[in-house]
């Protein structure tokens, strides 16, 4: 078993003639927190779409634990261990929080759910996972509320929880702190750091404080390509990054 959980070689995505992503080589180490930063339009979300199978790679390959998954469909990739959260919260608003997580856990064995005679509660494992995630997200007091009635911070945490409930090996978080208040951000930071202990976490983030604070590796992207990669300190001090960001975006302190 290699130390690399997820890797891409020469990954490219074209929309018509537009190269949204080109020649991206990434190596994500197992049980590390790896962040992707870059200005808008850098191709970060496209990279996520390509990794989860939402869009097809037009060139290059993607490997999960050494296995080629370039042509694997998105729902198959979930079963292989890739899960994601969305930049724009995407929940089942009229279902209870716990039901949201139960569904996410059930999503690992979707064929079982095709049986119209099987009771939802008979999948004890899915329920256990849902409760475990609720515990970890500290959302127990509101677990029976409808997802649509939760506060924004709670919804963002549930959004991450949806990815966690799939019991993934690699977890992709697309701007988990977007729109959050200060207190919620701190909780999210703890959560991501905690996730890195038993998951491989890849996340897109604009909040440099968090990125510099909890990342093991930072990849900087620009115009669909990889610009620089390294530890937070290396990236912060890189002259090219400073030029790209005009020096004023990376301000977070390094723990």
């Amino acid at each position: 078993m290699t130390d690399i959980a997820l890797q891409t070689r020469g990954l490219g995505v074209k929309y018509g003639t537009f190269h949204a992503l080109a020649e991206v080589d990434l190596q994500i180490r197992r049980n590390s927190v790896h962040s992707i930063i870059g200005p808008n339009g850098a191709g970060k979300t496209t990279l996520f779409h390509a990794l989860t199978g939402r869009v097809r790679a037009s060139s290059g390959r993607i490997e999960l634990d050494g296995r080629d998954i370039t042509d694997t469909s998105d729902d198959d990739r979930v079963r292989l261990g890739i899960a994601r959260s969305f930049q724009v919260t995407s929940l089942f608003p009229n279902l209870a929080l716990r039901e949201n997580l139960r569904l996410a856990a059930q999503g690992r064995t979707p064929w079982q759910a095709l049986a119209p005679w099987r009771r939802a509660e008979s999948n004890a494992e899915a329920l256990a996972i849902a409760d475990e995630v609720i515990e970890r997200l500290a959302l127990a007091p509101v677990s029976n509320r409808l997802a649509g009635e939760l506060s924004h911070g709670q919804q963002r945490r549930l959004e991450v929880g949806m990815a966690m409930a799939a019991r993934p090996r690699v977890i992709l978080l697309d701007e988990p702190t977007s729109g959050m208040g200060i207190d919620d951000i701190e909780a999210m930071k703890q959560l991501i750091r905690d996730l890195g202990r038993d998951h491989t976490v890849l996340f897109i983030e604009h909040n440099m404080g968090i990125v510099m604070n909890i990342s093991d590796v930072v990849t900087v992207m620009r115009l669909g390509r990889k610009l620089v990669e390294g530890t937070p300190a290396q990236v912060r001090d890189d002259p090219e990054v400073q030029r790209a960001y005009l020096g004023n975006m990376i301000t977070g302190d390094i723990a």
Binding site: L103, P110, L114, W117
Partner: protein, 323 residues
């Protein structure tokens, strides 16, 4: 959640309906028709309320069940249980095909496709009149018999249909409570997310179609035995429209709402059509009124009534789901 929405409450209400109808209605035929449409409308609701698919093609499956009964009973004397099973299987197969093609397009295109398919099957039935009897339909469809005696008296056939209705309704309640039904709700709520957490959403939609088609065709077969004919009108656009209208009037948030919708429509039709042949004009106005003032349908009214009587906190009026 309103206690009336709980599965056992729904089942109890269905049982109650079966017992109460004979007390209030003089016509056993009307009562039987209400139960048949109640199960057919509940099947439409499985698509509309639980999956978020507005199908204008339910008449296809109803008509297919009607013709299975018509052909098997007038030409070949097939035993009734086999006829009902055959109708359900053929209904499911057709619904699988129609569903598979229709869900290739989304939103309003999907609705338009289901309507166009209902025309397709109507013209199939119309064109191949050697099989279907064309405009005349298939005459002389017999009632089933139990222990050697045919159920020709309206209320004895009512009993037969009532047993079928309770069984079908129980099956539909089970389906909606199952892990499958709960996944359908998730697909209705947010299809993109349901796919992202690993569900092959198309397969779920097609299965919902198949179940709905099976129940609808089952009802269609019962209907042919009720009226003694397999008419062309059962596969017409108007039947699809009728089933959909009953579903929305009843309210798409609960299965029992569909029973209310079917009952309301058929009782209204029975009362008005003898007084004024152009009563559909009034129905048109009823539909506009429902859309403006009663978006959760008759079931919404029941829930509000329950809350008022039992002084519970009134549930916020949640807008119906986008399709």
């Amino acid at each position: 959640m309103n206690p009336l929405d709980k599965p056992y409450a729904q089942l109890a209400l269905a049982l109650l309906t079966v017992l109460v109808l004979p007390l209030f209605l003089k016509s056993g035929i009307l009562a039987t028709e209400i139960l048949i449409f109640a199960m057919v409308v509940a099947a439409c609701n499985l698509l509309l309320g639980y999956t978020g698919l507005l199908s204008f093609g339910q008449g296809i499956f109803f008509g297919i069940g009607t013709y299975v009964a018509g052909i098997c009973l007038t030409r070949w004397q097939v035993p009734v249980p086999l006829v009902l099973a055959g109708a359900a299987v053929l209904g499911a197969a057709t619904a699988t095909l129609v569903g598979w093609l229709s869900i290739r397009r989304q939103g309003v295109y999907f609705v338009m496709l289901t309507l166009a398919f209902s025309q397709l099957f109507y013209f199939v039935a119309y064109t191949f009149s050697g099989v279907t009897g064309g405009d005349n339909g298939l005459l002389g469809v017999p009632r089933p018999s139990v222990g050697g005696t045919a159920l020709n008296a309206p209320w004895s056939y009512y009993t037969f249909v009532a047993i079928c209705f309770v069984a079908v309704f129980a099956v539909l309640v089970m389906v909606t409570q199952s892990t499958f039904g709960r996944t359908l709700l998730a697909i209705r709520e947010n299809e993109g997310r349901a796919a992202a957490i690993g569900f092959p959403t198309r397969l779920f939609k097609i299965e919902a179609f198949a179940i709905s088609g099976a129940v609808t065709a089952f009802g269609g077969a019962l209907h042919a035995m009720l009226i003694g004919v397999a008419p062309l009108s059962n596969i017409e656009y108007h039947t699809s429209e009728l089933i959909l209208i009953m579903t929305i009037i009843g309210g798409s948030s609960s299965l029992f709402g569909s029973v209310l919708g079917a009952g309301f429509y058929l009782l209204l039709a029975d009362a008005l059509s003898t007084v004024w042949p152009r009563w559909l004009l009034l129905l048109g106005l009823v539909l506009v009124t429902v859309a403006l003032f009663l978006q959760r349908g008759l079931w919404g009214l029941v829930e509000r009534g329950y809350d008022l009587v039992f002084r519970r906190e009134r549930a916020p009026e949640t807008p119906a789901e986008e399709h």
